[in-house]
């Protein structure tokens, strides 16, 4: 994964907000750390596998998430259940991934069903990995992040031997 791989995802976010919500999205900054964006309350993610491996994460403050769900589902914020938020944000993440995939080059890329989680903890476990793009819309700000796969630990004979009980 290189820096340019995030570009199709930024374009996909803009397209989806334009077509589905008739809304412009500005991507004004690429953040070096989580703190500037603030930890999201809700994260919708899709894992990409195959010739390109990464996890797409869209992170929303709750008010932004609720406004988007209202636009998408027609439900007012007070009518929304966690299932409604999960369903709608998952579909948005799915659309972003699906629309970005053809623009990743001539790659065979598969995506998993979306996962949506509500986090009390700062959401990004590895803030040093991946780029975080701040997205500004009429519904509020949210973040787009592409996380590279975790490097697999190298297990050598020596470390295995050291791990064995003496």
């Amino acid at each position: 994964m290189n820096e340019s791989h995030i570009t199709p995802f930024i374009s996909a976010v803009r397209k989806i907000f334009d077509v589905a919500f008739q809304m412009n999205v500005e991507t004004v900054d690429t953040l070096a750390s989580v703190s500037r964006a603030g930890p999201p309350d809700v994260i919708a993610s899709v894992e990409l596998t195959g010739d390109f491996s990464a996890t797409l994460e869209l992170g929303f403050p709750l008010p932004t998430a609720q406004r988007l769900v209202s636009l998408f589902s027609g439900l007012h914020a007070h009518e929304q259940t966690p299932d409604d938020v999960t369903d709608a944000l998952g579909e948005i993440a799915n659309m972003v991934a699906g629309n970005a995939k053809p623009h990743l080059g001539r790659l065979d890329v598969r995506s998993t069903p979306p996962d949506v989680r509500f986090d009390d903890q700062p959401a990004f476990a590895r803030p040093e990995d991946g780029r975080i793009v701040r997205c500004i819309s009429d519904c509020g700000e949210f973040t787009l992040r592409l996380i590279p796969p975790s490097p697999r630990p190298t297990i050598t004979t020596r470390t295995l031997v050291e791990a064995l009980p003496q």
């Binding site: 769900v69 027609g74 659309m95 991934a97 699906g98 629309n99 065979d108």
Partner: protein
């Protein structure tokens, strides 16, 4: 005309149902995945299927293949986030009659439905 919506997202089912209602299609049944659709299709006898690709239990492509393998020729529109041309070709080869990439405008879905039904009637 009876339409069967096969889509795991309740939000998307509601959106599509709303668009179909605007088009005058009120006889709309829903299934949450391919397996659900397959178990009910013989009883429902829909005139048109609108099918998502990525669904739990049984995906849309498998549903289409299963239906075509049994000789069922009901017109099928795949409505999916899979925008890759290779995926479109894969779906058409499996027996899909038309294809819509999410997100879509009501006009696009309307147009695809009309095209699909016209082709089915002409065949």
């Amino acid at each position: 005309m009876k339409i069967l919506l096969v889509e795991d997202s309740r939000t998307m089912r509601n959106i599509q149902r709303g668009i179909l209602a605007q088009m005058g299609h009120n006889d709309v049944e829903e299934a949450a995945d391919g397996l659900d659709a397959l178990s009910r299709i013989a009883d429902l006898k829909p005139d048109l299927l609108i099918v998502d690709w990525n669904m739990p239990n049984m995906d849309g492509l498998t549903l289409v293949r299963r239906l075509r393998a049994t000789g069922n020729r009901v017109p099928i529109i795949m409505v999916t986030t899979e925008a890759d041309k290779a995926r479109v070709v894969q779906a058409i080869k499996a027996g899909v009659d038309n294809y819509v990439v999410k997100p879509f405008t009501p006009d696009v879905l309307n147009q695809r439905i009309q095209e699909t039904l016209e082709r089915a009637h002409a065949a």
